[in-house]
Amino acid sequence: MKAVPAWLRLWSAYVRWTARWPALAAVVPFVPVVVLWAVVAESGIFPRVFFPGPMEVIRSFGKLMYNGILPAYLEDSVVRLAAGTAVGMALGIPIGLLVGLSDRAHKLLWPILLFFQAIGDIAWLPILLIWFGFGLGTMTFVIVYTVLFPIVLNTALGVRSVPLELHRAAQSLGATRARVVWEVVLPGALPNIVTGLRNGLGYGWRALIAAEMIVGTSGIGFLMFDARRAGSVVEIMLGMIVLGILWYIVDSWVLAPIERATGQRWGLVTR
């Protein structure tokens, strides 16, 4: 019998461990990347100033955590994104319902919605700066604008995917229009609304970073751009890593569970 090679045994151990703790599978793949990063940085192929190693980034993480800059900026970014998303949803879902339910509203608004979505959040920055100056108004407008359109478009799609028979069945059982919307249309559109929220957050997130870089006075985007001005690659890399981890957390702890829950609970309607 041939001996099992060591790497295969290692691999099967990895598979067993990740089956027991799925969180491990999300962390371990980064180990070789970090090691490679450290080796390349140590080897001095690139000038150290342009390509610092992981240790320097961790050290600067410690420093910025200690003097409170990083937590404060992180809070600013997250609050902005959360507030913008909340407003975007509060506006977007009703508009989406309207566009999805009324044929006339659909004909009238659909081309306009597509056009304004195409202009894209970032292209609004210059004129927003004229309107609101460098501040919170500009930032909030950009995020609301970005989050709004994916939610409106997807809500409308979801509403239109609810079969007509379900409307009629509810109506013939005596439901009023409001109840049909509340108990048939909205749950039926929910999986699409969540998809819209996910897309909107994906774009809103990037818009926030861009806005913080261009107009910012605080936030992770500002941290990175300020570091760029000072020529500090370490802090730029730190900012990128924080952004990536933050999104990872939002995505897998907030969005994915909602998506799974709505898909399981209400997804059947669309079929």
Binding site: A26, L108, W124
Partner: protein
């Protein structure tokens, strides 16, 4: 008859946009809006004609489109083969999925600061930002596409005597194509925004630069002109090129997944 219908649909689509133009003019006149806050249609048209005549508009559009074309092309050429190769083995694909997800989240705008440090302000940095916006999203979607191909199809092709290369070209590539095209569409969406943002920060030619410089002089008519052009260009790229491409590939090859 069908042609007639399509014409009618096109008219029905553009009619609300004309309504918007009329509303714009009426509101600007009725409330006597300051030109520095929002321009009327006249000055915007005039700015358009002027910038076409002195050639600046064409130069800006050309620069933006050249950057996005080059970055996207390099991104796709590298990402598709890599995505397929990584997707072939289930072990490798489960291992690299978290990595690709992490980097596709960062793709685009978040790279602007470091790209401008590495490549300096200008063409290199912007193309790099577009390249990585497209690259990671496309690679991730390609990987998803390949892993969604049923094993039976690959075994069937292999047992019919297909070599590695043939399986690659005739099973894996077509099977992953719908996902690849969806990835390209998403990636380009991020890249387009990244392009505008990068041009505002890091260059002296391009649509984003045109907008941002106009801001310094409070020339709202140029800003609005630029916004309309950016909107129309993206509508043309997305609705006239990418959406039909996506629909066609899903119709033609999407079946593979249901097999």
């Amino acid at each position: 008859m069908r042609r007639h219908n399509r014409l009618l649909a096109a008219v029905a689509f553009t009619l609300p946009l004309f309504g918007l133009l009329v509303a714009w003019e009426v509101i600007v006149r009725a409330f006597d809006v300051n030109q520095r806050v929002f321009p009327a249609i006249g000055p915007v048209l005039q700015a358009g004609i002027e910038s076409v005549q002195d050639g600046t508009l064409i130069r800006h559009i050309g620069a933006s489109l050249a950057r996005i074309a080059l970055g996207t092309l390099i991104g796709i050429v590298l990402a598709v083969p890599l995505g397929i190769v990584m997707g072939v083995s289930p072990a490798i694909s489960t291992f690299v999925t978290p990595l690709l997800r992490f980097f596709s989240v960062l793709a685009g705008i978040a790279w602007i600061p470091i790209a401008t440090l590495w490549f300096g302000y200008g063409f290199g940095a912007i193309t790099f930002v577009i390249f990585n916006a497209v690259f990671f999203v496309v690679a991730y979607n390609t990987l998803l596409g390949v892993t969604s191909i049923p094993m039976q199809l690959r075994h069937a092709a292999a047992s019919l005597g297909a070599g590695r290369w043939q399986v690659f070209v005739e099973v894996l590539l077509p099977g992953a194509l719908p996902n690849i095209v969806t990835g390209i569409r998403t990636g380009l969406g991020f890249a387009w925004r990244g392009l505008i943002a990068a041009e505002m920060i890091a260059t002296n030619v391009g649509l984003g630069y045109m907008l941002f410089v106009a801001r310094d002089f409070y020339r709202t008519e140029v800003i609005v002109l630029g916004m309309i052009i950016i909107g129309l260009l993206w509508l043309a790229i997305d609705r006239l090129m990418l959406a039909p491409l996506e629909r066609a590939t899903i119709e033609r090859w999407g079946l593979v997944r249901r097999a």
